[in-house]
Amino acid sequence: MNTLVELAEKRINRRKFLAGVGAAGAATALAGCQSTGVNPGPTVNVGLVDTDYLNFALNLEYLEAEFYLRAATGQGLLPADNSATLNAVTIPAGTVVGGAKISGLSAAQQNILNELAYDEQAHVRDLRLLLSGLSTSSLTAAVSLPNLDFTNGFNAVASAAGIGSTFNPFQDWDHFLVGAFLFEDVGVTAYNGIAPLISPIGVAGPTNFLANAAAILAVESYHAATIRATIVGNTVAAGGVSNYPYFTYANQISTLRGTLGGGNETPLTLPGGTTSSPTASTIVPATTTNATAFSRTTDQILHIVYGKAGAGVSSGGFFPNGMNGHITVTQS
């Protein structure tokens, strides 16, 4: 391995390690730095800065972009969009397991998939540009694409949710909608959770962190509504849940997200009643009292995408080797 790359990665690991230790453990942490293989323990969000939250979001955008791009085209992000640079040394992107172009789509379905893929590719670029506006010789720069695993990730979700032992969202349009359902509401709750943690005025103009996070949050909400409304519409068109199991799959995933992600879920419901006196749909997942969107902590998001509850979880599910950056290990 290139020595500079090795040094750079060591530095990343060291920073990760330090970030993963609370103030209370700082003294022992310094001693632990000398040896390898020390479990850094749960992360404590002490000293996290705007760029850490943006890099956390970037990991999620990588996940979504790779998912949609592979579904739409069979391939993932361009190399220029997935590597990282540290001290003028390129840190290569991770590998992605699974994902294939969905065949048999109508033109309208392909158009929607293309839009989702383009938007998420753009969000990866947005965040990388925001982060690269800062020094690329420091760890405030964008992290690279982490290792992703769609095959085992979705299989694990399907098992835990009670859908079955395997699940392939790249099989057809209906399976795809369930896979997209899993990611989109997560993205909304993640951005909603980090928005208030970002300095209101980070950098001016188009590189304002908060403004960009808010504007991406809005787009994730549009996406999530599209997926939810399409699943409901398909179920109605099919003549009910018994003819369209994907509605039930989506709600099983919602239940699983709630279990791992601190509640914060509103399951889908089918239109009921009469046209003059209907029952309300639940396209928007929101609090009952105020109709405000749910927000999740970074821990809750990690639990969902790693597929595991509890403190000290550092990888799993869609991220077989964990996320990249400073927010990678659950603290609760």
Partner: protein, 346 residues
Amino acid sequence: MATQETQILDNIIASRRALLVGGGAALAALAMPKTAKAASTVASYGDTDILNFALNLEYLEATFYYYAAFGTDITVANGSAGAQTITGAGTAGGPVVIKPNAKVPFTNLTVASYALETAIEEGKHVNFLRTALGSAVVARPQIDLQNSFNALATAAGSPLPTTFDPFLNDANFLLGAYIFEDVGVSAYSGAAPLFTTTSSGKGYLAAAASILAVEGYHAGLIRTVLNASDNGIIFPTYPAGTLATATQKISTVRSNAAKALAQGTPNLDASPDDYGFGQAAAQVTLGAAAVKVNRSQLVDADLTNATAFERTTSQVLNIVTIGNAVTAGTQAKGGFFPNGLNGTFS
């Protein structure tokens, strides 16, 4: 060093806040000196001013959806949709200008259930913002849900008729809702970074972000349903493709209004800040596959960055008054708010 950085940040903050508040006027003056300017600047404002601006918009949305779902004003409770209080500072509006018996005679159960969900949620937003504002809350201003739609539809042009009734049927209701939802998103998106860094300001920001997300869901829902229905079968009064055309025309009106451009010339602006849901004009290139593809526009966002448009208060004012916020420093009146909004941003 720290001091210098702080000073730079302060300057950035000051200029950014000024730009966002007065952006309509400032940008119009810079880029298009011959066009009318949007009404502008507020010298100083606080977090509650931003919330009250949002409340005016929530009053408007809730009133529209309550009438569509129930045929009654937001002051009347209907099942899960609670009765809302509309009193407060400023000039309280009289009865809403609207046709009699405005409850939409829905024929599509799915659309009816969406209307009900949205009515309930917008009502809760009114209540939520009023609670957050406490004694600083403004009253609901005069609202017009009749002449406003006619004026907007006239500006948009065919296939929208010059007399446009959003309460006539399912499809018209969806188009009426379309007019509001993306505007709410752009308003909240523009306002989010304006809150102060005080603890209460951060709390307001969290609340505004949570409402922004819900408005995004609503807008995405409306656009998705319109897209799925644009086949001439579900809504026979609109032949296949006309709903996409109608939303593009409405988006053009909104964009022209936001940018203080004259209405009626569809392609006046080379870089609009608003798009209908139909297929995008330009193809995009996807990932390592490097394929050029068509795409839908179910998200109303910047075509390159896929970030939602952020509008200044002046730009939003110009939209909801349908281009009448043209004189800087004077009250913007017209359209949905014939007597203007209540609060500092009016």
